[in-house]
């Protein structure tokens, strides 16, 4: 394919594609309506190149579908890290990287002029001052090079933070890197250190591992910095349902970031934030967010944060609520049947998974969970993992209870049981 490059400029576009390959797993080329055939082909080829054996192809009458199928509990390294290692660059970028660090390796401080002269005389490489200055500035930001002003002149030297020294002096760092390179938060950064040192994680596997989260890490430094600096952020969102790029570029949201909410069971991560326009808290899926930008300082950040901290204990998951929409909701009570003698493991499960709810014994073999939460609907996905033990549900919202009874009735029919007239 003419003009194909393994390297990418636009991380968002790649995120969008990987998500589709990864999540749906059965889309064919014509399903990617909003993309050109060329773009589809290039993105597919890159993902294939990164994912290796995890790619799966299936032919059907509609065409060939491409998907990512990884048993992520049985891999040593997240293959999606490769997306981060594919940033495009110019010839000057790579030349200056190796030459400037080579010159400065002796520990001496040099001026811009001395560096430009050295590039020319010692390496036969002609660079104009501005190009070198820009690269130095960039590397000062990256913490690779230190700039110090002596009088009116800037002197440049190499940072003293050499990875090999860290590894030599700090016993156990190598194993810590192996572990943290595959776990939250920002495993990719640990992986970049491991790779630089020529090490690999060959010890740890991660169960319940949502490898796609790494792609959202691209947004996180900006979000976390905004939290630290008590600023607004603005962002746009991907939309899986829109079919054109223009339509997919939805309106910009402006919010006050509070916390990152991580679900280790559903594969989703959210940004909990305050929406000034609506005067309420909400949670935004990180995998739908893109182009996050820090904004102005939020003068009332501390006040909002205080309110948030008062609110978050009443979120079972990430939802701040139905209450405003449906009026007051009484606490939901779910009663479970448990034979304590033979089924203590069920009580153990309830105890360790109940989150902000309370659990009490309310009768012979009966245990009642009380959930005073903003959105009772959020509990039901979890509550249904106890199917076969739920005796009754009280309080909460009528619609939530009705849906549960209707779900059990439908499931009973689906799995060949009699539709019980007592179930509503």
């Amino acid at each position: 394919m003419a003009g194909f490059s393994e390297l990418i400029k636009n991380f968002d576009k790649t995120r969008d594609y990987i998500r589709d390959f990864f999540i749906y797993g059965c889309k064919i080329r014509s399903d990617f309506e909003r993309k050109s055939i060329r773009t589809y082909g290039d993105e597919k080829r890159r993902v294939e190149s990164w994912m290796g054996d995890c790619m799966r192809y299936d032919d059907s009458v509609r065409g060939r579908s491409v998907s990512i199928s990884a048993d992520s509990g049985h891999i040593h390294e997240n293959p999606l890290y490769n997306a981060y290692y594919s940033k495009s660059f110019t010839d000057n970028d790579i030349r200056l990287h190796f030459l400037l660090t080579d010159i400065l390796q002796d520990g001496q401080k040099r001026t811009l002029k001395e560096l430009v002269d050295s590039l020319n005389s010692d390496y036969g490489q002609l660079f104009d001052k501005q190009t070198v200055r820009n690269k130095l500035r960039e590397y000062v930001d990256e913490g690779i090079i230190i700039a110090e002003k002596v009088g009116k002149t800037l002197f440049y030297s190499l940072t003293e933070h050499i990875a090999d020294d860290y590894l030599r002096d700090l016993n156990g760092l190598d194993d810590a890197l192996r572990f943290f390179s595959e776990t939250q938060h920002f495993g990719i950064i640990g992986n970049s250190i491991l790779k630089m040192l020529g090490l690999k994680n060959d010890i740890f596997f991660i169960k319940h591992n949502y490898i796609i989260h790494t792609l959202e890490d691209i947004l996180m430094p900006e979000i976390l910095a905004a939290m630290e600096e008590k600023r607004f952020i603005s962002f746009r969102t991907f939309s899986a349902k829109k079919t054109t790029d223009a339509a997919a570029l939805s309106a910009e949201n402006q919010v006050v970031p509070m916390k990152v909410l991580v679900s280790v069971q559903t594969g989703r991560r959210y940004l909990a934030a305050y929406i000034p326009a609506l005067k309420r808290f909400s949670a935004f899926r990180l995998d739908y967010m893109k182009t996050v930008k820090k904004g102005d300082i939020c003068e009332s950040y501390d006040e909002i944060k205080l309110k948030f901290e008062r609110n978050i204990p009443r979120c079972f998951g990430v939802s701040f609520g139905m209450r405003r929409d449906s009026g007051a909701v009484t606490p939901m009570k779910i009663t479970f049947y448990v034979d304590e003698e033979k089924e203590h493991f069920v009580l153990d499960r309830l105890e360790r998974e109940k989150r902000c709810c309370t659990l009490e014994k309310t009768g012979e073999h009966l245990y009642t969970l009380t959930a005073d939460v903003f959105d009772p609907n959020e509990i039901m996905h979890w509550a249904k993992t106890f199917i076969g033990r739920i005796v009754r549900i009280e309080g909460g919202a009528d619609a939530v209870r009705r849906r549960f009874y209707s779900d059990i009735s439908r499931m009973n029919r689906m799995y060949g049981g009699d539709d019980n007239e007592h179930i509503q």
């Binding site: 913490g143 760092l173 194993d175 976390l224 069971q265």
Partner: protein, 333 residues
Amino acid sequence: MNIFSEIYGTYFRIAAKLLENEAADEKMVRETVQREGFRDSVLFLPQKLIPSGEDWGLFRRGSDNTLRRITKKAPVKVLTKLQRMWLKAKLSDPRIRLFMNIETLSALDKKLGDVPPLYNMEQFHFTDRFSDSDDYVNEQYIANFRAVLEAVKSRRIMFIEFVSGNGKRINGKFVLLKMEYSPKNDKFRAYCYLLRNDKVRSSGIINIGRISKIVDTGRVFRTPVSVEEYFSDRKCSSPAVVSVTSERNGVERFMLEFASYEKHTVRDLETGRYTVELWYDAQDETELLIQLLSFGPVIEILGPKHLREQAASRIKRQAELLAMYGEETRNDT
């Protein structure tokens, strides 16, 4: 300052690797690219490294046809500010104590200087993590963890006493293959083989938090063992087959929640349903079953037969329970 930067990129890393030696040759370049690069890098990268007119100029061809690097020394491996900020953040993670003692951690802190942490633990909240996580500050736990870690690395045979998931006290000689961490449980486990007369008797998993005693026997298990074989022994004999509908955004929710499984998906154009085959570890069958049931009627377990029967039995029991307490239920709704 961004992790999506060429300085961490595969091409830079390959170039750095080759620049470690004063001289290289074309074969070495191609082999390194093949080994360290992406699948197709060998089509694009060698010509940028080997003097060719379109190369980056990092090597010159020597008189003996070798490739001589233009740099004077092997590339220096510096930790960027982002990497140091990440390390600084890890100092606040209790799990770091499993790997490094207090003195080493304070030496790391000192080395990192006043670089700010990339994040604070308080900026994150795990919404559905189980509450009975391992106790990472308990000295006995730390000692056990390190003993397991060393045993995995050295393949030493260990005598271990522990309490199993159903409360049984077990002891024996084990060879430990790998370690596993679950963010859902916030627990570490070790994949192991139980030995009898120095031969593999059975495979298993030991929760580090349940170990009461671990002693190095001083002997190394020299028989080659394959982790792939260990995994395949524990795999289900046939995949779970699930029909998923788009009701309540079921497809997206399901695909995301089960993204960590090896799976195969087929879409039925007429019904709009997706049929998904999921491969799972046999010992996790109950966990899978309850996870599937939590989707309610949005999905249907089609097979294997025993999994469907387990689902049916739980649902039947649920319907009976609701019927038994039906009067109250009706009054309530």
